[in-house]
Symmetry: C2
Subunit: 326 residues, 2 copies
């Protein structure tokens, strides 16, 4: 029965069109054999076929696919870049689309903080390269990452740029997208669950709430120079009916709290700092805005942290107790 259930689930996970590609493989085999004499060429054909089948699983294979594969795989000739969101930490929070991208990549450029269990989802032969630590200043310069992406795609690689959380939320995606476009390279983006979404789900509360939180906002505690951004709109942070999430808040948390209070936010506003959200070693402290920074210093050094400020955080401590009891 477990076997049956596994098969049913696998069927649901596999793209519907894949069986059409398997059929095509069967019917193309004699032609491939007659048109490609060398074993190595046939092997290359079928390797490219697999990549194409996964990439095009939503549609049926056509004669044009056969010809394109025969002419040399366009993926290997043109290369491509896909920005992929790795989610907050739990490998199960990757989207199915992200997993598929990892499994068609030939090279993966990933943030240092992406967990090994997530990299394990990629195909074995893919080359993995760590670039940059989020939240602690890049270990590789952004411009260098941009040029590497372009150079690898130009060399024909199927490149995945794997970023923690959602690449479109404080992921510096614009620089990479623009660099690729300027070089004429196709870019695809696969969104990811952002840390705030993961943390709230793990701690069991909603980020919006009819009565008390009709606006959510994401800001960064870490500007271009590593300082709290000078041009943050503090009146928007002072709004008592908003949920504010601060990404990369560690270095500037006490400054942030002081400035928010100075702008008019109640020092008693609930605040929650979550480290390693959704990972097995998730850890958090809950307090008032006025005292959160002191408590957050106790969170593990080097761990990625987010700060959630607003009435929605009020129930977090209680919620955790209930979840544990359940």
């Amino acid at each position: 029965m477990l076997g049956q259930s596994i098969r049913a689930r696998i069927e649901a996970m596999l793209p519907r069109g894949l069986s059409a590609w398997a059929e095509a493989a069967k019917s193309w085999r004699p032609r491939v054999k007659s048109r490609l004499e060398r074993f190595a060429d046939r092997r290359a054909f079928w390797a490219a076929f697999v990549g194409r089948a996964w990439a095009g699983a939503e549609r049926a294979p056509e004669e044009a696919d056969f010809e394109a594969l025969l002419a040399g795989t366009p993926e290997r000739r043109g290369g491509s870049v896909t920005l992929v969101g790795a989610g907050p930490g739990d490998p199960e929070l990757l989207t199915m689309k992200a997993v598929r991208a990892l499994q068609t990549a030939t090279i993966i450029l990933h943030d240092d903080l992406v967990a090994p269990e997530i990299l394990d989802l990629a195909r074995r032969e893919a080359v993995r390269i760590a670039v940059g630590k989020r939240g602690h200043g890049p270990s590789v310069r952004q411009s260098e990452i941009d040029s590497r992406l372009v150079a690898l795609a130009q060399a024909g690689e199927t490149v995945v740029r794997l970023k923690g959380g959602d690449p479109l939320i404080f992921g510096r995606a614009t620089e990479e997208i623009e660099a690729c476009r300027a070089a004429g390279i196709a870019v695809e983006i696969i969104p990811g669950i952002s840390a705030a979404q993961g943390a709230a789900a793990a701690l069991g509360f909603s980020l919006t709430e009819r009565r008390v939180a009709r606006r959510i906002q994401f800001v960064t505690g870490h500007g271009a120079d590593g300082e709290l951004p000078a041009d943050l709109d503090w009146s928007s942070v002072a709004d008592p009916a908003a949920t504010t999430i601060v990404y990369m808040p560690r270095a500037t948390m006490s400054q942030f709290a002081a400035a928010a209070i100075a702008a008019g936010l109640d020092p008693a506003t609930p605040a929650l700092a979550v480290a390693n959200a959704t990972r097995a070693d998730q850890n958090h402290v809950a307090a008032s805005l006025a005292s959160i920074a002191g408590l957050a210093e106790g969170l593990p050094a080097g761990a990625p942290v987010i700060l959630i400020v607003g009435q929605v955080a009020r129930s977090a401590t209680e919620a955790v107790k209930l979840l544990r009891a359940a």
Copy 2:
């Protein structure tokens, strides 16, 4: 080779611990046979075993699991509720965790707008019940949904409450979480890709940008009474360095634009209304804030729409052209 590649991908998708459960099934079989005489009881044991294996795939099965299953499955006795994010539309944008929840559910209460292809990911025998249309006023009252969740879980069902996007972002999750907790029912939350994340990824731009968008905010165009919320913080919307995303904006878009402009936002600010984000029938219009509402009227009636306002939307039209050309 396609077969090999499929197997490798399946292995990556399957929880690592599942093989330990398969081993346990083998070694427990004689004991189950001797302790449960009736075929129906053994069948029930193994059905519950499968659910438990998937739910506990990260850990190895223990003797306590055997005893609990033998005593009658706690899931069937206690029942549970899992709030699951269905993502913006593309079934591939569900997380692996969401797919797994759909495949262990006995009953699924879903928003009307959740696509049939997403419901297809659930196991065949699960009962599917449509409740409520997002953005067009609930067809089932929230309090009724709350009581149904509680009653079903109390009856021993494994209930999934499937919501479009992320249940924690304008998903009215708080009411459902609180109703369950008040009744002593275990609630789990699985986040989803929100419409804004999906739309930006599909159109190829980042929601944040170093120079022009250091703050993102999500607001709703649809308050408790279906009107534009009266207490929205308009000065935060008027901030030219923010990206503002309006959920359920259709009925109040011209009011929203007028109020934002009255609060000081440049009428020429780029704006983008996206219908059916990430679905095959995705559709969008791009314009200035001053003229977006008129154009958005042309979007398909009944389709879910989000409005994105800010400098990040400037490149959307151009980006789409590039993506198509690629």
